[in-house]
Amino acid sequence: MTLQKAQSRPLFEPQIVQRAVLDSFKKLDPRVQVRNPVMFVVFVGAILTTGLWLQALLGQGEAPASFIFAIAVWLWFTVLFANFAEAMAEGRGKAQADTLKKARRDIKAKRLANRDLRLNGDTSTSPISKLQSQITSISSSDLRKGDVVLVEAGDFIPMDGEVLEGVASVDESAITGESAPVIRESGGDRSAVTGGTRVLSDWLVIRITANPGETFLDRMISMVEGAKRQKTPNEIALNILLAGLTIIFLLATVTLLPFSIYSVNAAGQGTPITVTVLVALLVCLIPTTIGGLLSAIGIAGMDRMIQANVIAMSGRAVEAAGDVDVLLLDKTGTITLGNRQATAFIPANGVSEANLADAAQLSSLADETPEGRSIVVLAKEKYNIRERDIHGLGAEFVPFTAQTRMSGVNLNGQQIRKGAAESIDAYVKQQGGTFPTEVRTVVENIARQGGTPLVVADCSKVLGVVQLKDIVKGGMKERFAELRRMGIKTVMITGDNPLTAAAIAAEAGVDDFLAQATPEAKLKLIREYQQGGRLVAMTGDGTNDAPALAQADVAVAMNSGTQAAKEAGNMVDLDSNPTKLIEVVEIGKQLLITRGSLTTFSISNDIAKYFAIIPAAFASTYPQLNQLNVMGLTSPESAIASAVIFNALVIIVLIPLALRGVRYRAVGAAALLQRNLLIYGLGGLIVPFIGIKLIDVLLTLFGLV
């Protein structure tokens, strides 16, 4: 049911192959063929040779009917193989679209009559009963933007929307493949809900934010189906080059007929080159390998994004990802683990470290924040102080308030408090104590190193400092080094002060940082980079990220983020994993590399094909040219047939490569080029010599020529 399954989908799933085979025949429609100039030439060639074959059957053929037939058949195969490649790439998307469509079924929605309904201040114990009385049942397809609906436990959310009221756990596995439910609530960054997901507990009041056909699910389906697929800029440019080459080869082969007629007259022997051979030569020369696989490569690139659980809103965005020069990464959650963690206890003079740890743990027992939890854990790890039950101790928990900016516990006359240095300073003075200078020094040192100091005090006595630190995620340094080799600059964005930011930036190994970042500062930074000609990528989830996301060239919004963020971005990461950006860049690069490599391969192949066909084509006029038959092919007919068969088969052989993509390695551009030139340039030069010879040997062996 879920996309997670798509990841394990094998390349040639029987069902997809079956459908693709069928589709390759459907795609013989001239209206489909004409969209691809290179393959259209093959298509026309196939029709032409078929006509020549029929003519030969009627007894006035330019060559033996069997020969023309063989060429015609293999030209049709060439067209079909290219269709098959495209159908395979589409098929994988379609299979996923089918899964998604199941989530888009028509749902009965509970529309509320009052659109401006607000429960603010309503303190009645059961506001929901009040709502239930206003419900009208309506089909989800009749809902429009701005409608307000109620969704209760067990209901499907009818359409994309924004939570107005309520908190609920929602099962979003249909979209994300993640089985653990997520919390959705009004306000903040977790207010967006997606149509087709299911509320597991509680209830939500939702304002619909999309019309039918425009929802996230709809967009996703059309993306994976490739229905709205437009050619990307580089694909268009490559298509132009391929069309140019096709015209050149068309001229080179068409003019061969007059050249051949002249040569026959001049040499006084032989017959002019046949149209069948000309068509065969043309098809072998034009870049059919890349032409046939080009759209499959593009679709497969989108498909790989989907398998990485990223939905790109356009192919253009995927391609732009490969060009990114600057990555803006949020510190929290991307570079560091989501939260600060306690890493050390530094006691005041006259206090033992264990005492400080004990007091710190007590004060944090009821503190459910990640920071509080980390203090409890550190005390346990370091001094084996077991976690105690705060209620069993008869302790009174003092929660954090905006006024005191401290939290703590009152226990057996002890009044343990923890908080920022200023808050504890004020508290201690109020109790008649003093704030020791050595503690202040410790506090300043910690701050300078990028940590956060939390001071612990008991009544008027300062016990010491707990050091909280951002923990840089494992492997990030290596990732950033890799990005640097790719030529991508990493910039850390954080709300921290410059000192803290610099310390973490150095530890994580990013190239630069933006401290005390405001949405405006972020936007300004992006614009500056873009002004300098760079392409900027970033991730974001909050509404305040939206302007920067809209400005960035590649903007990955977290699926857990707000609707505004998702709309501003050009990709949505369903896993809400900010490090995914790196993968996105790699997929973008892979897409371009695959195209470039197969183009090089396709063009290099031509040399061998000339060696096969030219001596064969003019065998009767200039038998001397047979000295160029370096492959020692059996006969002119088998030479031409072998070249055409090789040309067709190579498309099939390369389908897995087109679908999977050429592997990207994070090495410098020059090294990458050298490698790919060797494999696809030199390889493309040599492989067809072997392939054509092999096919010729087989044809001869089975007496087919």
Partner: protein, 580 residues
């Protein structure tokens, strides 16, 4: 080849490459409007010209106005050359009393000289008056060369500017190219050539008695000879420097009055490649990274040396059938060996093949030996050098802008292979550039192939093919290759001064030159308006040996893939027939 031969080739290359940097540096300063040392002498003249023609030198043009200016100026030149030829009988400086040139020949020659092709369907000394030679042909030698340089400079500006709408002022580029570069160099070379005995005179032809009487083909006694004269040195200097190639005399630089001594030969050879090679450095200088210029020059030099090697080997090896008859064809102190047919004994094989390679690598087209008398493989080299699109040095300006287009295509394929939208010198190469670049490659290929195809199956085309078999085909292919790439050299054996070839080749020369210029300037305009992407480790470096190899690969592959079938029916099969 003899050690002496290798030494001469080496010397030529060393001197050529040594001159690249100083001249390239000088030209960069000329185009960037910086002082060059000749300002005091030529500055007033330059300003006078601007005043005369109402040019505002500070006013820049966008690519469209620049293109219109190029085309308009060339159209005027074309009409002037046509008119002068047709009216020369009534005009002064015509001591031989030559009549009007035929309309079709005038048409062909006007296009030929305006397009920097200098294909000559006529015989100079028996067709053109001194006035026509000087005012029509020689003026075009300067102006067509300057046009090529102006277009190149516009393209370089497109590459080096960021977010700009203009690419320079055509009139300024023309004026400065002519005044500061072509005129001083031509003056210097002309004086050097006169010192070697190249004629420079307004006297009519001299008739002199022969020291040794001889007989003509019909057996009639011949006792006297006509020695043609004219203002040759001044024309030859620019014909070599401006990669024009149109000789003053019919046999071009094989004529003793056009190229009398080994030194004059060396200087004329040097002049062929001098400016095209030095412009590479100018390019590097103007884009702010001279390594880029050296890389392009390296690619050109490697291909040139490789193909020079082939033609030198083929000619020195000679005809295997002659060797098979027991004739000694090995070079020795007593004889040059190899294939000396169609070559001047005072130049020998080395200097003939060097010229043949240089004149076809650059789109010069002047000759000091007859390419039609080369061995099939030897004749293939000049043909193929042209078929690569005249980008191995190429014409002044046009060679480098052609090569830069190939660099853009190489960058495009390579850029994809490293996973980025391709960039050249920080400029993104996108659909529009690819469209124009594809056109630029396509145009000469189409003109050559279609032209040849029409010629070999139409009676008008086959009527004047004087040789049989594959050689006859090579002659037609060579003619269209030469015209379609604006080279101008010929493979003798084809009678081309007739209506069919004058018109067909005229059309090929015209479209090849101007369509390419339009597309090139369009690219220049589009690139100028783009942002400059700063280079990083992910950017493909375009100054490395790897890129040089890639560039060579693209140039060779495009040329080879387009012309292999045609070449197979011409020089290749002929060579194989020889070997049999």
């Amino acid at each position: 080849m003899t050690a002496n031969g290798y030494l001469q080739l080496g010397l030529f290359l060393v001197v050529l490459l040594a001159l690249v940097k100083p001249l390239g540096w000088y030209m960069a300063r000329v185009y960037q409007g910086q002082p060059v040392g000749l300002d005091r002498a030529l500055g007033p003249l330059e300003r006078l010209m601007y005043r005369l023609f109402g040019t505002r030198p500070d006013e820049e043009m966008n690519w469209k106005s620049y293109t219109v200016a190029v085309l308009l100026f060339n159209a005027l030149g074309l009409l002037a050359v046509y008119g002068l030829q047709r009216l020369q009988g009534a005009l002064p400086l015509n001591p031989q009393g030559l009549g009007a040139v035929t309309p079709d020949s005038s048409f062909n020659t006007a296009i030929s000289f305006a397009t920097n092709t200098n294909w000559q369907g006529y015989g100079g000394e028996t067709t053109m008056s001194y006035l026509t030679q000087m005012l029509a042909l020689n003026a075009q030698n300067f102006l067509s060369a300057a046009t090529g340089m102006a277009v190149l400079v516009a393209l370089i500006r497109g590459l080096s500017r960021r977010s700009a709408s203009t690419i320079g002022n055509f009139w300024v580029d023309m004026t400065r190219s002519t005044l500061y570069i072509l005129l001083p160099l031509a003056l210097l070379l002309a004086l050097l050539l006169v010192s070697q005995g190249v004629v420079q005179s307004f006297s009519p032809a001299h008739t002199v008695p022969l020291v040794q009487a001889t007989a003509d083909a019909d057996g009639n006694q011949v006792t006297e000879q006509v020695l043609p004269l004219g203002p040759a040195a001044s024309q030859i200097a620019i014909k070599q420097l401006g990669t024009n190639g149109g000789g003053f005399f019919n046999v071009n630089s094989a004529h003793p009055f056009e190229n009398p001594t080994p030194l004059s030969n060396f200087l004329e050879l040097l002049a062929i490649l001098l400016i095209p090679a030095a412009l590479c450095y100018t390019f590097g200088k103007m884009v702010g990274d001279t390594r880029q210029g050296w890389a392009v020059l390296a690619a050109m030099t490697v291909v040139f040396v490789a193909l020079l090697g082939v033609v030198a080997w083929a000619e020195q090896a000679g005809n295997p059938r002659i060797a098979a008859l027991g004739v000694d064809t090995v070079a020795s102190d007593l004889q040059p060996g190899g294939n000396m047919e169609g070559k001047e004994t005072r130049f020998g094989i080395t200097n003939s093949v060097l010229w043949a390679a240089a004149t076809t690598a650059a789109s010069n087209g002047s000759v000091n030996s007859m390419h039609g008398s080369y061995t099939p493989l030897g004749g293939f080299v000049p043909m193929f050098l042209m078929q690569m699109g005249e980008v191995i040095f190429g014409g002044v300006g046009s060679g480098l802008y052609g090569m830069l287009i190939f660099a853009i295509i190489a960058v495009f394929i390579a850029g994809l292979m490293v996973g980025r939208t391709p960039e050249y010198l920080g400029k993104k190469i996108e659909a529009y550039e690819m469209k124009m670049a594809s056109l630029i490659i396509l145009i000469p290929c189409a003109l050559v192939l279609v032209g040849t195809a029409i010629a070999v199956v139409s009676p008008g085309g086959t009527a004047t093919i004087f040789n049989t078999g594959a050689r006859g085909f090579s002659e037609v292919l060579y003619a269209f290759t030469s015209a379609g790439n604006n080279n101008g050299s010929a493979f003798a054996g084809l009678g081309a001064n007739n209506i069919f070839y004058n018109i067909m080749l005229g059309i090929a020369m015209f479209f090849s030159r101007y369509w390419i210029i339009i597309a090139t300037l369009a690219i220049a305009g589009s690139l100028a308006s783009k942002k400059l992407v700063p280079a990083g480790p992910g950017t493909l470096p375009t100054h490395t040996p790897l890129f040089v190899v890639l560039l060579i690969g693209v140039v060779l592959l495009v040329g080879a893939l387009t012309f292999i079938p045609a070449l197979a029916l011409g020089p290749f099969v002929e060579q194989l027939q020889l070997l049999q």
